[in-house]
């Protein structure tokens, strides 16, 4: 009688424990995740102008930044009442596919008030809009944002670089793709005014 109840007790204990361990593990994991998410983000690696970085799909090197009101040698003309902030970059498609999703690489942080989002990309080789970048073919590209003429220009432009990581099989279609955008680096550039850039506020 005693032996029987002991076995039963052991079994109950065992089931409860094994069920409990799983739950405990899950609890620990979520706690750790919450703590990590709440921690202040690591200081981003700082890039120098001209330094090359692998940012997911792209390999980029930011060269310089310029603000101008005048039509420029690349044929770009800011709309009336607007000035253009142009950032020159060297960019290479690291993926295995031709791609046109280069619009999400840079974020201006801290943002410049009055700046219109969604920059235009210029292919300097042709002095026309950039349509696509092909794997293994590096290009010099000018990224152009526009802002009202009166908007003040900060002395420095800080850009953060976002990278996605490659997944050979995604969860939905088991197809290869690039996911989980993450800010991986930052760069500060002195902001020159050029081409008679007296169009700013007095």
């Amino acid at each position: 009688m005693l032996g029987f109840s002991l076995t039963a007790l052991r079994q109950t204990l065992f089931t409860r424990l094994s069920a409990g361990i799983g739950g405990l593990l899950a609890l620990c994991l979520t706690t750790v995740q919450t703590i990590i998410a709440a921690m202040p983000p690591d200081a981003l690696p700082k890039l120098r102008p001209g330094e090359t970085i692998d940012a997911g799909r792209w390999q980029v090197a930011v060269q310089s930044a310029v603000v101008s009101t005048q039509p420029r040698d690349d044929g770009y003309r800011p709309p009336p009442g607007m000035k253009a902030l142009a950032v020159d970059i060297d960019i290479l498609n690291r993926t295995a596919e031709s791609s046109n999703v280069f619009g999400r690489i840079f974020t201006i942080d801290p943002p410049i008030p009055g700046l219109k989002p969604d920059p235009i990309h210029y292919l300097m080789r042709d002095r026309t809009m950039l349509a696509a970048l092909h794997p293994g073919l590096p290009e010099r590209v000018r990224v152009i944002w526009t802002m009202p003429n009166q908007a003040p220009i900060p002395p420095n432009l800080r850009l953060t670089i976002t990278a996605e990581s490659f997944k050979p099989r995604d969860n939905l279609l088991a197809a290869p793709g690039w996911f989980n955008p993450k800010v991986i680096a930052a760069i500060s550039l002195p902001l020159h005014e050029e081409w008679g850039g007296g169009g700013g506020a007095p």
């Binding site: 295995a96 080789r125 349509a131 696509a132 092909h134 088991a174 197809a175």
Partner: protein
Amino acid sequence: MIRLLTRLAGIVIAAALLFAMQRTTPGYSEITGPIPVSGAMGQSIAARGFSFRADKLILADRIRWRAYGRDIERDSSGLWAVVVAEMEGRPASVTANGALWRSASGRRYTPSQRLATAPRQLGANRLEPGLPQRGLLIFEIPREEADDATLLVSLIRWPRLDSEIRMPLARDRTESTDVLDLDGLFDG
């Protein structure tokens, strides 16, 4: 003891089987992917919705054409690969925008969009049955991706359960030149 061992073996075998199945199960995108149609250069190949024939491949450092009274020249940090081909909608009118250059290393290049005004580009116009269109598929590729490439042709870039022609680009139908005049390709 023996029973325990057999049970353990059973579990191991089942795990191995499940793992093998998980590794070898084709993904949804593979099951519903393109249906390959293979063919060689010079042959007319019939796919679902269109037929295609590639006559030659010209590799050039620069290409040149005339548009709106201006001579336009485009260079590249790699090479221009120009496929001279003929295409026809069959049995109905179609638009075919799915050409790809697949290099030996597996990279996939879409036709260059740096040539908006260049003449006779396939994919720009609709293909009508009975009226085969002779034209060009122009790719910009790195120099090292030129050899042993495969041309993929379908109606859209990501064909799903639809034909995709896979054509190895033969060396004996490949020419090389420094500057290629696109307008000169169709004179005479």
